[in-house]
Symmetry: C2
């Protein structure tokens, strides 16, 4: 994992690739690498769909190793959705495989003169770039099936659906999972549109013949990994809660807390949420096919296994177990309490290559505009189908909540920096509001998951309804997340364990040190996080972002959220202190 693969899709005479040493980027992985490269190489004022933007696909520092939970992938670019820097994070198989193939990153550059599609394959035998317009407008499921037929049962696939080809702001990049299904997505920020603009439909990876990456100090690494796994197993969230019900265990919890955004952020509780909760979902899955939660990890090396598969009423595979944010986006936020409909929406999103969070938020805005009634599941399914077909309405919706709000003349649009808020109302969970407002990414719960401390009492406890303590909380989480998870290739869910268990955090640091022959301290990890955020803030500033963009939409400050009847109370001048460390 000591080289970068650059593929110039705009080269004269057709795409060309080259390999180079890490150079300036040595020692960086995942988000640390994507954000450093984008900040250094992409003109901040370029058009996101233009030749000057770059798409960087980078495994983490520990990806491709034996470290448990290390298979997450970072995708970076200038975002078509926000206009700022983007790191979108995904599970799936590709991170481990790309790392074992020896690449710290794939960088797609340039732009083909003509509107042609390509498939790229990367194996131990080299890199091939082939024009293949037969893939045009295929869904991700069909695309993966075609690649499987061509490249075999061991390959893994990075692909875009029709949404990416149509360069939509909500377009995701799909990463196939252990069952070779395109169910894991770098969802946020329209990264799929950038891949589409480069004329790349799919990148197929096969690490056959390549070895697992080996640590500098194998004994220390093995010992640290053992401690690491033990730490994850003993924490109640990673050891019990997530495996039992998946991420959707949160539906009842967040609803109980009054922070479950319902019908386009109009209420903080959804009266029929028990019909779509994790408990109900797990029961449904187990009844139908016996593959409920705790049966699936999203990548090789996962030990939390918070996922499962969702079968339809007839017992046929429909989609992977929809995540909490998806169930919320297509469920409560649209007034929909039908799990089968939500699973169908998840399937359609995965197939068309769409961010489920952005799509659910968008449909709710469209419902507020009168395009459909809140609670009408059939209408919601048809709206997502319109996106996949690229009808005019579909084009509107596929470009996300902010554009949809503009086009339909809606005032209540829950976005920051053009990106839709996820499944936690910032008025009832004020810590996540600070993260939404200030993150370099636009509204993003994964950038600093203050819900942990506001609601789950992980990493201490901060009153969710009050502004006190939220700035420091979000700051620390944003720093820690950038480095400890997004740069290492670790799953975000390890955060629960490392926040509560110092010895588990130390085990992670020990693994990094043993693997790379380093002697980093916790402070060094913190510095790494700050450095990542600094790169991102620098890019965003040069792209025209100011403190005024680190704000929630005005209605969150004026409109009280039932049942707590609370508004967002963190002051602007406090928000401006998040990055003043």
């Amino acid at each position: 994992m000591d080289k970068i693969l650059r593929i110039n899709m705009g080269a004269d005479g057709g795409p060309q690739f080259s390999e180079e040493a890490l150079g300036d980027y040595a020692g960086l992985g995942g988000r640390a690498l994507t954000s450093a490269l984008i900040n250094k190489e992409v003109p901040p004022l370029c058009h996101p769909l233009g030749a000057d933007n770059k798409l960087v696909i980078a495994p983490g520092l520990l990806s491709g190793s034996a470290a448990a939970m290390s298979g997450r992938m970072s995708v970076g670019c200038k975002s078509p959705l926000t206009g700022g820097i983007k790191e979108s994070n995904a599970g799936g198989q590709a991170s481990q495989v790309l790392a074992r193939l020896g690449y710290a990153a794939i960088v797609l550059e340039g732009k083909p003169a003509e509107n042609k599609l390509h498939k790229i394959s990367i194996t131990k035998d080299g890199v091939k770039i082939v024009e293949d317009n037969s893939l045009c407008m295929l869904g991700n499921y069909d695309t993966v099936d075609k690649m499987k037929a061509e490249f075999g049962e061991k390959m893994c696939c990075i692909s875009i659906g029709p949404a990416g080809e149509m360069k939509m702001g909500a377009a995701s990049i799909a990463f196939s999972d252990m069952e070779q299904r395109p169910t894991r997505h770098a969802g946020r920020g329209g990264v799929g549109a950038v891949m589409g603009s480069k004329g790349v439909k799919t990148i197929v990876l096969d690490d056959a013949g390549m070895k697992m990456r080996s640590p500098k100090d194998p004994d220390k690494f093995k010992a640290a990994n053992k401690e690491w796994v033990a730490g994850l197993r003993k924490h109640p969230v990673t050891g019990e809660g997530l495996p039992a019900y998946g991420t959707n265990v949160l539906t009842n919890v967040i609803n109980e807390a009054g922070g479950y955004p319902t019908k386009n952020f109009m209420w903080g509780q959804f009266d029929t949420c028990s019909k779509i909760s994790g408990e109900t979902q797990a029961e449904t899955e187990n009844t139908r096919g016996g593959e409920g939660s705790a049966t699936h990890g999203c990548h090789r090396g996962c030990i939390i296994r918070c996922s499962g598969t969702y079968y339809d009423k007839d017992g046929h595979y429909l989609t992977k177990q929809p995540e909490y944010e998806t169930v919320w986006a297509h469920g409560g936020n649209c007034g929909i309490d039908d799990l089968d409909a939500i699973a169908m929406l998840d399937r359609l999103d995965d197939d068309f290559g769409l961010d489920t969070i952005e799509m659910g938020a968008t449909i709710a805005v469209a419902m507020e505009a009168g395009i459909a009634e809140f609670g009408d599941a059939e209408a919601a399914i048809n709206l997502v189908k319109e996106v996949g077909q690229g009808t005019h309405l579909g084009r509107i919706l596929g470009n996300g909540a902010e554009v949809t709000g503009k086009v339909l003349g809606v005032e209540r649009v829950p976005t920051v920096k053009g990106q839709a808020m996820p499944a936690y109302d910032p008025r009832a969970i004020q810590g996540i509001g600070v993260t939404y407002a200030t993150s370099t990414m636009g509204a993003d719960h994964t950038a600093g998951y203050a819900v942990a401390t506001n609601i789950l009492s992980v990493g201490g406890s901060v009153d969710p309804l009050k502004p006190e303590g939220q700035i420091e909380l979000s700051r620390n989480l944003q720093i820690a997340t950038a480095a400890a998870t997004d740069a290492t290739g670790m799953c975000l869910f390890i955060s629960f364990a490392i926040l509560d268990q110092p010895e588990t955090f130390q085990a992670l640091i020990d693994m990094i040190n043993a693997f790379h022959g380093l002697s980093l301290t916790a402070d060094d990890i913190s510095e790494m996080g700050k450095s990542i955020l600094k790169n991102e803030r620098d890019f965003n500033a040069r792209a025209g972002f100011t403190a005024e963009h680190d704000r929630l939409p005005a209605y969150f400050l004026n409109e009280k959220l039932p049942p707590h009847d609370v508004t967002f109370k963190v002051k602007d001048e406090e928000l401006d202190q998040v990055f003043n460390w």
Copy 2:
């Protein structure tokens, strides 16, 4: 003209109005007043369609007086199109009438709880606000006809069409002309959407029983006005060129200069532009109905009379004489060289309440996306009809070029701060490029019409193809325009005479002084202009605008414009000096 009429459309129990003295705004008119009020009273981060935005309609300092050319109206708000401050300027009758009714401004505030439409009438007998949902989705022509039936042949009308009701970013506000036709528009920035968000369909004014505003020193005023009129009559542009062929006299001139943006800014010359030139247009008009150029002013007191009427092939009134920018937007920029089709598009825009510049630029972007072929006039007409009908495609287009580019995935979108560029390519006329980039308004030729000095040798001469001298030129024009025309209620076209003839500029200052009992100097006028721009820049900064927003889209720096094969050469650091006076 010493009071402000505030109408709170969101008051409990229905709309309420109040009158107040000018207070802090004493001595301000037109854009000076709108921008001061918006900057002081509107929260910069509010939603443009929300209750906190305000719509300010303000005549100029000399409006309602006997001063020739003083009948322009300023409309201010936070723009739904740009997100920044907006002053959109229009002719028509309302400015003179509102001033004679004694109002320095109407301020629409708040937002009705329900989606209801109102008509407001203002006469010597007072203000009436009446709910009238029968006006819903009427075109401006029908709206004016209804108001004429109700309020008589002397009233003048401020109204929005369906586009404003649908809160589109390209929605204009129509001001009826001397023939009671809704042909004069505050077109830019989506001001019609703000009026629509306030639930106001039309404001009817009648100054029957009110007198012309009288000057403090009638003799001096009369003498200055005489000198003023003589100055305008003797300048070749205001005395000959504009009256003879209207603004469309520019088509051949700008095309000859290679700065006529053709087919979405792909070329700088349009090979069949002679078919849509001012010369051809005047001949067509004269042949059909005998009301070509030089027959119409847009407001009472106009002596340039650059307008006329356009009759269809059967000799029936179709629309007012389309302006140069309209002929360009719907013509050359879309590859269309059919004057009748362009006139029909002008009529449809006026009726639906749409900015012709934004619509033409938008259709060209849609043509680049493949929605229609360049040159297909029938398709263009159908597209504008879709906007009026509010189909999904119509909603996209009605929100302007930037949104359309996003939704359709187009990279080449000629906008600055979200507003489409008008009819002058900034690569071949670099001075106007500086104005486009740096204006507080987004791309706007009227904010500092450097075309005058780059192409027409008015106010000196600066090579249009070179960056040298353009910063100072644009700076001086932006300052002068803000004060001498936009704050006084004067038509922009007086600029030609005051730039070239010091005695004519002095006559304008003498008129202001005699009217208001002041002793302003040319320097004072300049300070007034700076003060206006300072207010606007202050608002924009607090709304999140930075130097990075004072830039042209990247492709104007990278893509050479034929026939001169030139790119925009003014450097970023030079652009940042425009407001460094």
